[in-house]
Amino acid sequence: MRLIRIITRSIRDSFRSVFRNFSLSLASISCITITLIVVAISIVLSYNVDNFSRNVEKDVTIVAFLDVDITSERIKQIEDEIYTIDYVETIEFKDKMDIAKDMMSSSDVYKNIMQNWTREDSPLQDTYQVKVSDINYIGKVAKEIESIENVGVVKYGEGMVEQLASIFKIIRNVCIGAVGALIVVTAFLISNTIKITIFSRKREIEIMRLVGASNMNIKIPFMFEGLILGIIGAILPVLTTTYGYVTLYQHFNGQLFSPFIRLIKPEPFIYWTSFILIVLGMIVGMIGSYRAVRKYLKI
């Protein structure tokens, strides 16, 4: 009962002091707001890059062209041989007629040339379309497929794919690193801001001690205050990401520059992001307050 009263009073007092020291609170709040906005941007960016690179990896295919005069038994055998290679995920056989059909449907020029081709006089080759489970091994898999007998040329957008993969990896790591560093910086920034605000309230702490407040009695209201500052500081970033992202998504129709680069659907992505921002604001506000108040407690 007593504890509940102490806590409810602490909450009331922290609200009061947030507003009574409003100019100082504003400093902490804007500090939290600015950093959370940067964190929000990093989250949106890194998740989208992550999502995008996963999609690209899914789409990257090795195409193995088979010799023109190959027998159908040999085609079956090759399938089994490819399957024994590590990191091969799926294999799909596409014969020359399918390929001709695909090409004809993509352009009228092809259609005019190819429409009378039969299986026998087609210069195209039968192919296996192979997908790998890990894009980093695509070159190795391609090489092994190439060494199989009756397999001619193997194509997978060599170089480009690997480069893209490594660029994504870098972007992802940079984003994760940036978010991590930002969280640390925010905690410091906030604890410094709150330290300044608490310095101005050193007297208050001194008086609290004088009338018999224990360290806990002093800490609790200040930590609630940090919590409140954190939540208030998260309001703007949450609104910006929510409305900003939805607007962005609708404006670009869910894709960036080409259908190839798809954005993450706003729901439930924005809810998660908002949740993370609020929790982060709360934690960072509380830690900042705690670090700052500790300085003035005699322990």
Binding site: M1, R2, L3, I4, R5, I6, R9, D13, S17, R20, N21, R203, E204, E206, I207, M208, R209, L210, V211, G212, A213, S214, N215, N217, K298, I299
Partner: protein
């Protein structure tokens, strides 16, 4: 019975200054004691050790059975809840009303609201400030602010009230009004220790007077003997 017993207390500050040398002192329950002496003789240091703002280097300080000299920082609040302290500069929360300033000292322990209200009104009445509970400190005179500080110090019903030059910032008339309040509190059974530079007050009140000089007790005048002694 003694409320306070100090034996062989010595205090040397980190700077190397020794403010109190081997002090022995007992103060009875219900007493009113003045501590006087020239500037820098160690008056504030002596009472700071009583409310455990400073720790003696050696010696014992027993207040109501508690050895204050050994009290750890994190346990200081236990002592502070049993005593009241009043300063020359009032130490009020400027952003809080008179009522809130006094209630503050009770809220910290989670006292129920109804109980807080009754107690706060009672002490504010006692110090003669019942009509100004909604004022902020900067809307009060110095004397009134000191009354708020006294009300806050006694709202818990402490056995001991420590005052460091409570009238130092006040004019003569206001000082005497404050002394009347303290006298009334003392009559209700609270032991009072008051540091002061004001000879007039000390002569008028006729209480026990302890004269310090360079960290030692130079003279200890029993109740009612101070005026005679100086003549």
């Amino acid at each position: 019975m003694d409320l306070i017993r100090m034996s062989n207390v010595k205090k040397t500050y980190k700077t190397g200054v020794t403010a109190i040398y081997d002090l022995n002192l007992s103060i009875e329950k219900g007493d009113f004691v003045f501590i006087i002496g020239s500037t820098g003789c160690g008056k504030s240091t002596l009472i700071k050790m009583l409310y455990r703002e400073e720790k003696p280097n050696s010696g014992k300080i027993i207040i109501g059975g508690m050895n204050v000299a050994k009290l750890r920082n994190r346990k200081v609040y236990k002592l502070r809840r049993k005593i009241g302290v009043v300063f020359q500069d009032f130490k009020l929360l400027n952003r809080a009303t008179v009522y809130e300033n006094v209630a503050f000292a009770l809220e910290i322990f989670g006292t129920p609201k109804s109980e807080i209200h009754a107690k706060v009104i009672k002490v504010l009445d006692l110090v003669g400030l019942k009509g100004k509970i909604k004022n902020y400190p900067n809307q009060l005179s110095g004397g009134e602010q000191q009354r708020v500080a006294i009300a806050r110090a006694i709202v818990n019903g402490p056995k001991l009230l420590i005052c460091d030059e409570p009238t130092g910032n006040l004019d003569e008339k206001t000082s005497m009004e404050i002394m009347e309040v303290l006298e009334a509190i003392n009559r209700m059974g609270t032991t009072i220790i008051m540091v002061t530079h004001d000879r007039k007050i000390v002569e008028l009140m006729q209480k026990r007077v302890i004269l310090l000089d360079a960290g030692r007790v130079l003279k200890d005048y029993a109740k009612g003997t101070y005026k005679n002694a100086t003549n």
